[in-house]
Symmetry: C2
Amino acid sequence: MQELVLGIDVGGTNTKFGLVNREGEIIAEGTCKTGGFPVFKNYLTHLMSNVDEVRANTIEHALIGVGIGAPNGNYYRGTIEHASNLEWKGIVPFVEPLKSYFSNMPIILTNDANAAAIGEMTFGDAKGMKDFIVFTLGTGLGSGIVANGEVIYGSDGFAGEIGHTLVNVFGRTCGCGRKGCLETYVSATGIKRTVYKLLADYMCDSELRGVSFNDLSGKMITDAALRGDFIAVQAFEYTGRILGMKLADTVAHFNPEAIFLFGGLVNAGNLLMNPAKFHMEDNMLHCCKGKVKLLVSGLQNKNAAVMGASSLAWREIDKAR
Amino acid sequence: MQELVLGIDVGGTNTKFGLVNREGEIIAEGTCKTGGFPVFKNYLTHLMSNVDEVRANTIEHALIGVGIGAPNGNYYRGTIEHASNLEWKGIVPFVEPLKSYFSNMPIILTNDANAAAIGEMTFGDAKGMKDFIVFTLGTGLGSGIVANGEVIYGSDGFAGEIGHTLVNVFGRTCGCGRKGCLETYVSATGIKRTVYKLLADYMCDSELRGVSFNDLSGKMITDAALRGDFIAVQAFEYTGRILGMKLADTVAHFNPEAIFLFGGLVNAGNLLMNPAKFHMEDNMLHCCKGKVKLLVSGLQNKNAAVMGASSLAWREIDKAR
């Protein structure tokens, strides 16, 4: 009987899940709402009935593990903690109540970026690497760090918050309450802010001049840049420059073999990668110059969230075997 | 028969060594010159004859390992690489030629800051900690990082170069060829530069106004500050502020349980620790506020260099047992 694990990706709007084999193939999948359940227990019941339905329609299989990627997911405690874009406030135990649904198998939870890093190591282009970092460029900027072949969670589960390192002490206000954090520049929201700054700085034509801030999306900026829109291209240049400078600092901390970028903004290709590479090398300490690969994630444009979540469980199972 | 390991600390001027037991006690020690041997092989012969002499005068013992802390020491290759304050240029194999002197025992080399971190874990105040960082404030700023209970060397042995992360892109020139690196502000040399900046900014009296840049030392600044000299006190405030801000970034990367500070500047006590703690907390991401201990190294004012070097070997021996 085929062995599968359940990968669950908890998003702000929807929860995606899938049954994934050891090769990273999603054998069956489903989606349900995350929002609309003020009581967490009711969300879990809803999610589990959706999972049961999908499992019932899947070829006979043995479920041997569950992996969950969630915003502000805490690996040590199996909890979601103070997630600003979910409706459950405070600290929400996730793994513990799940044990009544799935007994005798590993249930692993961590945040999205750590799940992406383990996904990259298990199913993507970091196979065999012992030291690498994945940056996820979404609404914010997440980072999953692997050193000596292990994810760095830190003493309290909060390592990998590179999105909240400082770019400019007088810079943009951040959702975390401080100013000038990296994610206020390098993320889908960050590049929107940069477009608006550039629309103020320059008076040239731009297809983005007719779009309100609320309507503007990372995809619109990417598409405009790929069509050669000056403001959009400059926005990627600006974003790539700040990213590259900070990547040099990240290399000074970890000396990784590779850094992977993941997320919608990465679809702009060289418009983002070229300035990021240039400014990373330009700011790099001599001993590391030319040695650190900056790559697009091997899971880019795949169902990376579900694959990443499932990889949490596969890795735990692999270790135990 | 008592088991001892040989700890060797290669400094720019002198090499210190000691025979150290598992409790970190230095049973016997010696010093010899590092400089004056343009050919590395001759230095090694000189060092080994000094070691032999000390061993001959030490109670009967079994030597079971050798640990070496050296500037720009590469753990993976057992080499010293491009060390600017040593007279051997390029890449110098250290562990390989040492094998003809010491057979059938581990010989481990790494840089001073990593040795300090392993020393803190083995003999100091990081016993039992899995995630912590040691900052060594000497001529430059070194950092040794432990995550998941292991030192992070990175893919090429160059992790822990936090001294070369960016404070200010338009800032002070650094020995590494770039501008605004952390160690140009936070180190014995950095605080000298800060004193000179402050002597220019202010016109108040200071006992440091009669001292040339070349004559000024970290110890003189520390002593003046402890006597209440305004310029010296402000120099520690300035140094502590920049250190604290960057420590918050370091926490965002690693979420350590504790950060240890080591080196002469740390003898200024609260004049350095208070602003460093204040600005670390002030810049800290919400989830880590109040959780990361900032401490003086448990090896401060001990023979930390030799203890740290010996701990490299003890740790390897402990692992194998």
